[in-house]
């Protein structure tokens, strides 16, 4: 009788600065949705490191042309399409109750959503900017620029689309994003990092942490060098109060039904309008 081949098990790690480190704290937890797995329980220090890396990568990401950012996001869609089977397995491994057809539909929707947002970066000026018809001899126009580094607290669901629906708007707006993946079902969210790593996304422009929401959300809210914060769920007074210290741009995304939202106004919440004036003279 031949022994069954022991598989090579995957270690789930954080995605920070384009690399896959374990948490600096050395801690792990067992997610409720994946009882057989230990994932990193990221610390405040991990978040701080991510913000430093995000600040650096964000300048790179924001400094690229919209065309280039669009191609990179489209490349991410290509990588997701190519990994659909693997992503399906991560969803099922992270949430045993999920129906396989539903999970498959979610993976396909995640690819579609990413491709939709890939078309955004080279149209931000046309969609959100303006030429301003001022009453005087001036050429005046307004552009949009990313806020910088934006934290994203994903819905606590097993689905990849739910994470991407919140990551992609600030990312397409040119921000570096730091996502905290679902606490119960973190596996597919962490696997997203593997697709990012092969998509020419600058290391640090997308970063993914796993950990305990109640432990990390206050750190996201109070971190003074995080420019924006997008939180799945209803408004939370403690988050808003902590964020006010640095006039952080905070938005909450209530649960939605139906397909993942594709929203220009969600992007608009994480860009800054800059108005430019210059005299016109002979």
């Amino acid at each position: 009788m031949s022994e069954e081949r022991p598989t090579v098990e995957k270690t789930y790690k954080l995605f920070l600065g384009g690399k896959f480190p374990r948490t600096e704290s050395g801690r792990s937890y067992v997610p409720a949705g994946a009882p057989g797995v230990h994932v990193c329980r990221a610390s405040r220090k991990d978040l701080r490191d991510a913000v430093v890396a995000g600040r650096k990568a964000g300048a790179d990401w924001a400094g690229r042309t919209g065309y280039n950012r669009g191609q990179i996001l489209f490349r991410l869609a290509e990588m997701l399409e190519a990994r659909k089977d693997a992503l399906l397995r991560e969803i099922l491994a992270g949430a045993p109750g999920v129906d396989a057809d539903e999970a498959w539909a979610d993976v396909e929707a995640a690819v579609d959503l990413t491709a939709w947002y890939a078309g955004i970066p080279d149209k931000l000026g046309a969609l959100l900017g303006s030429q301003n018809d001022v009453a005087g001899p001036f050429f005046a126009f307004s552009t949009v620029e990313p806020q910088g580094v934006v934290g994203v607290i994903a819905p606590d669901t097993p689905f990849l689309t739910d994470l991407l629906a919140l990551l992609l708007p600030p990312l397409a707006g040119g921000n570096a994003v730091i996502g905290l993946v679902s606490e119960r079902s973190p596996l597919v969210g962490l696997a997203l990092g593997e697709a990012c790593a092969t998509s020419d996304v600058p290391g640090g422009a997308i970063q993914l942490l796993s950990g305990l929401r109640d432990e990390l959300l206050p750190e996201f809210a109070s971190h003074r060098d995080l420019d924006g914060l997008l939180v799945a769920g209803d408004p939370d007074a403690a988050v808003g109060r902590a964020a006010a210290g640095s006039v952080k741009r905070v938005r909450f995304a209530p649960a939605w039904s139906g397909p993942a939202p594709r929203r220009l106004d969600w992007i608009e919440a994480f860009v800054e309008t800059k108005t430019f004036w210059h005299p016109v003279a002979p």
Binding site: L128, S130, A244, V247, R249, F276, W277
Partner: protein, 514 residues
């Protein structure tokens, strides 16, 4: 003209005392013979009542609080009038009136709302001189500025937004739009009428109803605007004005019946409001403080840049959130530029705000004057070199000389803190990269200025300065079609343009503020 006049006029020589530059630019001197006679604007065009109530539900009412506050004329230091000091009960009445008016106002065809806003614009234009006089007496700004800037721009804001009221589908077609609801608006004392117009016009265009809280020390033009609202036939309750101090503003911010707060004022108060609204899901826009860098390169048109820097810091006594308060000079031109700047600043006419020749009026309040004096003393104590205009100051009222600090460092209080007065700091830089680094070394991000003849450099710089408004070869320009607002701790949300309109609509399925 006599011969010695002509000699005076073409005399050349060094700049003001202390400039010390060897090749000082030539100077024009007209001697002491050509002086200005007083040219006061008449006060008669804007009579002021001895007491004002609150404007609630379309009429002036006595405050339930029974309390009143005095408002002082900064140019003379004398009491102008007294206005109601609304308490929480008064605020509640106003919010209730706005709530009652909301269904009717928001259901009006946009074209009808537009008609009311056009009326406001036109009636403001008709009564322009009256508003200018009132603004200058209550606030202390030169009549020239209230006449040529504040009032015309306020009228333009109503006119501009009137045109949006029936075109919201064009602006927000993608995700739809609905009014936010009852909006509480808290405005500052530096541009009382203009801020009221900035706040009211887009709110009303989008179908919201409003409770407006003017600043404690400059309430009169907002109250006079209520007369115009009545004349224009605006339905009762659509706009309510509650005067008072910070406690009145706090009562408005905390009122559960308010759906959105729009605040212009200090960063400190803005943070407190953001914290107070946390978790309520109410919408919030903040237009807060600034510490704008004004960057001058060696290839700039120097004389125009001097004028721009003067306009940038001394406009409205420097009581401007977007004032160009940190001058950054390229090292190669710094000495020469400073001589020219001091010479120009010494010619600024400081005095009676009602005089049509006055450039720099009265500091708005004794409290603000004390703050300016404290920060300037701090600047000297920190080792800065202070130059002040040798001009004479009026004997009564609150005034401060145009002031320029050199020998200051990035960590000095006068470089970091918003002074909100006619006080400029000067630092130097060598490369564009260094200018960007110094300009962005602040927690604020409201505005910035660039002076250079190189088009490519302007665009390179403008893209890197972290500020919501970048003026290039000009400064302190405002227009309702041009979005205005800050990055970072200068606040969030915009005023003006389609972008500013977005702050007054709720989009179904949109994100919620926290």
């Amino acid at each position: 003209m006599r011969d010695d006049d002509i000699r005076d006029a073409f005399a050349t020589g060094g700049g003001p005392a202390g400039a010390g530059a060897q090749d000082a630019p030539p100077t024009l001197s007209f001697g002491a013979r050509w002086t200005y006679d007083p040219a006061p604007e008449s006060e008669a065009v804007a009579p002021i009542d001895s007491r004002y109530g609150l404007f609630v539900d379309g009429e002036f009412v006595d405050p339930r609080s029974g309390r009143y506050l005095q408002t002082i004329e900064p140019g003379t230091g004398e009491v102008l009038s007294e206005v109601a000091h609304a308490d929480a009960v008064d605020v509640d009445r106003a919010v209730a009136a706005a709530r009652r008016a909301l269904p009717g106002w928001s259901a009006l065809p946009g074209e009808h709302r537009a008609r009311y806003l056009y009326r406001l614009a036109r009636r403001l234009q008709e009564r322009a001189r009256e508003f200018a006089v009132l603004e200058t007496r209550d606030g202390g700004k030169p009549i020239r500025e209230s006449r040529d800037v504040d009032v015309p721009l306020a009228a333009q804001h109503f006119f501009y937004h009137a045109g949006w009221a029936d075109k919201l589908d064009l602006a927000f077609g993608a995700h739809g739009h609905e009014p936010v609801g009852v909006v509480g608006q808290v405005i500052p004392w530096n541009f009382p009428l203009l801020m009221a117009a900035w706040k009211l016009a887009p709110a009303l265009a989008c179908g919201n109803t409003v409770v407006l809280k003017p600043a404690e020390t400059s309430p009169l033009t907002a109250l006079r605007l209520c007369e115009v609202l009545v004349e224009a036939g605006l339905p009762p309750g659509v706009v309510n004005v509650v005067t008072g101090d910070g406690s009145t503003g706090a009562a408005l911010v905390e009122h559960p019946g308010v759906d959105k707060i729009a605040f212009t004022g200090s960063t400190e108060v803005g943070k407190a409001i953001q914290a107070k609204l946390a978790g309520t899901g109410k919408a919030l826009t903040l237009e807060l403080g600034g510490k704008a860098a004004h960057v001058v390169f060696e290839d700039a048109a120097i004389d125009q840049a001097v004028e721009g820097v003067v306009r940038g810091i001394f406009f409205n006594q420097g009581h401007v959130c977007c004032a160009g308060s940190r001058l950054l000079l390229q090292e190669s031109i710094a000495d020469d530029f400073l001589v020219r700047l001091q010479r120009r600043a010494a010619r600024i006419r400081v005095g009676d705000p009602m005089d049509k020749n006055t450039d720099l009026g009265a500091i708005h309040s004794p409290e603000q004057l004390a703050r300016i004096e404290r920060l300037v003393a701090q600047g000297v104590a920190d080792g800065g070199t202070l130059w002040q205009s040798p001009c004479a100051l009026p004997e009564r009222g609150t005034f401060f000389r145009p002031s320029i600090f050199t020998d200051v460092g990035q960590s000095d209080a006068v470089v970091r803190q918003e002074i909100f007065g006619p006080v400029l700091t000067v630092q130097t830089f060598r490369t564009p990269e260094e200018a960007v680094a110094k300009a962005n070394n602040t927690t604020y991000g409201l505005s910035a200025g660039i002076w250079t003849d190189k088009g490519a450099r302007i665009l390179w710089m403008a893209a890197r300065l972290r500020a919501g408004v970048v003026w290039n070869n000009t400064f302190n320009r405002f227009d309702p079609a041009a979005p205005f607002g800050g990055f970072r701790e200068s606040g969030f949300g915009r005023e003006g343009g389609r972008q500013g309109l977005a702050a007054y609509v709720r989009r179904p399925g949109g994100l919620v503020q926290g």
